[in-house]
Symmetry: C2
Subunit: 118 residues, 2 copies
């Protein structure tokens, strides 16, 4: 899975309210599968399916401690998704800045030409 595939998997994983709520819960700290499932009125296979999507996107990891399977959030893919969004915003803001500059130049030329006429 390349960088593009990774981003696609992360955004697809985030495109579901249940999966976003699971991540919000895990951002408070690692939790067992049962603790996560307890927050949702959903069948165990449905929760398990959501966890698989999050895991494949690299957003969560599972570790086995004693007999317990613990889920943890993995922040790196969130950072990559965030960086992608930030990049578009930066380009867009730069574009707005250069438009504003352009308008300033136009305005000052206009004022200068008016002064010359006076």
């Amino acid at each position: 899975m390349g960088e593009e595939g990774q981003l696609t998997a992360v955004f697809a994983a985030l495109a579901d309210p249940t999966r976003r709520r699971i991540l919000t819960q895990l951002s408070q700290g690692p939790a067992r599968v049962g603790e996560v499932a307890a927050h949702f009125e959903m069948s165990a296979p449905a929760i398990s399916q959501h966890l698989k999507v999050l895991e494949r996107a690299g957003l969560i990891s599972r570790t086995v401690q004693a007999q317990w399977r613990t889920l943890s959030i993995e922040p790196e893919p969130l950072d990559e998704a965030s960086a992608w969004i930030a990049k578009q915003r930066t380009e867009w803001d730069a574009r707005l800045d250069s438009l504003a500059e352009h308008l300033e130049v136009m305005k000052s030329r206009h004022e200068n030409s008016n002064e010359a006429k006076e």
Copy 2:
């Protein structure tokens, strides 16, 4: 469409490399549909479908100038998606900080108890 529905639509729209490339192109400034389509070896209906998904998520808008349909990026939904991600990261970082603090306290207690023994 509530806030959750909006976020779901935005993340689903971003979960496609073609749609992300369209946004990257439009972050450089508004463009006509034909200029966007020229960047992709894709049928007009396929591009049109991607534009519809972006438009429904509120990520782009269309304006008609003379006979031209112009596409512009709309930054607000990107900001909302970014804010959601940032929130999870902040919670997670706060959790790591409080763990680190807890470890410091444990360590200093341990050192004090060792000094007491000496």
